[in-house]
Amino acid sequence: MDKTINQKAWFLVLPVFLVVAFSAVLPLMTVVNYSMQDTFGNNQFFWNGVGWFKELLDPSTDLGGRFLASLGRNLFFSAVILAIEVPLGIVVALSMPREGWSVAACLVILALPLLIPWNVVGTIWQIFGRPDIGLLGYVLNHLGFNYNYVANDIDAWVTVIVMDVWHWTSLVALLCYAGLKSIPDAYYQAAQIDGASRWAVFKAIQLPKMNRVLLIAVLLRFMDSFMIYTEPFVVTGGGPGNSTTFVSIELVKIALGQFDLGKAAALSLAYNLIILIVCWVFYTVMTNAGSERPVKEGAA
């Protein structure tokens, strides 16, 4: 479908532009401004040029060390949760009941974790994992594991990862389910006539049909896990030590904890830049996938 060129469409977009510009451009300018300055409190600012950015990229300084370490942890975290949530989400989507009331029941239960406030998600797992009052911690400790997410790095990591899998696998599953639902029955009938195996059906029909939604799922999950703040903050507070301090937690510590505005702003810009690049890749891939859409729909 060709869109007509009409510059008056700008009037329709103007409200969105104003609302988002108000909450995005103005604050971003503040950040840029701060990133070039240093402050010793009392609202006195000193010009610091690109000093903070140099420090940021130099692991031997305090700021650079903290940034790069938390960035490394964050990337590792994102990789692990993607490796678990995407396959698990596909399996859950394939396990959805076919029809009847159980479909609605499963959908509602699946969506439930997505609508729990993030700090409550943290609270739920904080309680659930405690060795004294939480079911999980209690059972694990009575099975002979010395599980304690407050004191042990590995336990803290496992808790944060299991929590994220609990919280977000449903999103991947719901997306894949939406993709699967759009496959017409004729495809399966054809496969049956050809005597295709279960695995062949998955590889040749279901996976290609889920391509698009899987892409949305992977990129949304990457972005959101890369920005994660509230849940690990409530459960572990970034600890033990710094072992679960992700980029956002580090940033809030520097900005609102130490009130080191210059450093925080420089970190923010670097952080935003990474997000922007990933976002651009996302957008490009999405729009390219979109251009193939009419062909796919025609086949369906």
């Binding site: 700008w10 409200p15 309680i127 659930f128 696998t169 399966y188 279960r198 956002s248 940033l251």
Partner: protein, 268 residues
């Protein structure tokens, strides 16, 4: 045919995995604190409503819920109202800078809240909105408006162009066409978009906590402060947590038939 062997078992196990931590929270909210600390019980042996009673009678608690709902509703209304015309424009027309604008919007959906916490604090303090629901509602627009545009654009594109053209030939003015014809046609899309705005505004904590202090303090902030200050009143904390899950559960129930399509952002 589109299912796999052992699917009932897999689905069952996964649902148990999802529900168990929630059950534990509900379970704790009905126990007395003495029972929570002293023994490990799978269900409350001396069930009590004391925690819920406390939340519903103590103003500092229940006003937290009211404050949260207030900014969530304001945010949802603003987001949908501004996103509708924009979604129509993106779906039907090409105009100068449309692709860049769409990308810029999308990039704001992805911007980390932590980056904006401090500048928002400065901005809303400067214009006198700090500690009002409007500050939080406007701040949440940064990720909800792009999302609403994105979802609605998918739904508007599903409406055939011929409908617009016929309406204009029949002499409908643009606003009248928009309200009388287009909006009813994409009603389910508006429902889905509103659901997502509600959801992301409801679950967000960092900005909501940073932009409020006393008068507009959201429930999530009330909860965190109680945890750190008043020692560990586990039962009360659990009860407050359970009450934050209920609005979400109700909203899911209303949109359950559109949920899958909504999560695919109208783009399956």
């Amino acid at each position: 045919m589109h299912s796999i062997p052992g699917r009932r078992l897999i689905m069952g196990l996964f649902l148990i995995f999802l529900l168990l931590p929630i059950y534990w929270l509900v379970n704790m909210s009905f126990k007395t604190n003495a029972e929570i600390i002293s023994t490990m019980t799978l269900w409350p042996h001396t069930p009590t409503l004391q925690h819920y009673k406390r939340i519903f009678t103590d103003e500092s608690w229940y006003s937290g819920y009211i404050n949260s709902l207030e900014y969530v509703v304001i945010n949802t209304v603003i987001s949908i109202a501004v996103a509708l015309p924009a979604a129509y424009a993106f779906s039907r027309y090409r105009f100068l800078g449309d692709k860049h604008l769409f990308f810029w919007l999308l990039s704001n959906r992805m911007a980390p809240a932590a980056v904006y916490a401090l500048p928002f604090f400065n901005l809303y303090s400067a214009i006198g909105l700090f500690d009002t629901p409007w500050a939080v509602a406007l701040a949440h627009c940064i990720f909800n408006v792009p999302l609403a545009v994105w979802i609605l654009e998918g739904f508007v594109s599903g409406v055939p162009r011929e409908i617009d053209e016929t309406a204009f030939l029949d002499g409908y003015s643009f606003p009248r066409f928009f309200i009388k014809i287009l909006v009813p046609l994409i009603a389910s899309g508006i429902g889905v978009a509103a659901f997502f705005c509600f959801m992301f505004s409801w679950v967000e904590l960092l900005l909501a906590r940073t932009l409020t202090s006393v008068a507009a303090k959201p429930i999530s902030a009330v909860m965190t402060r109680t945890v750190s200050a008043a020692g560990m009143d586990w039962g009360l904390l659990a009860a407050a947590g359970v009450l934050t899950i209920i609005p979400g559960a109700l909203v899911i129930w209303f949109v359950r038939n559109y949920i899958a399509r909504g999560f695919a952002l109208g783009r399956v």
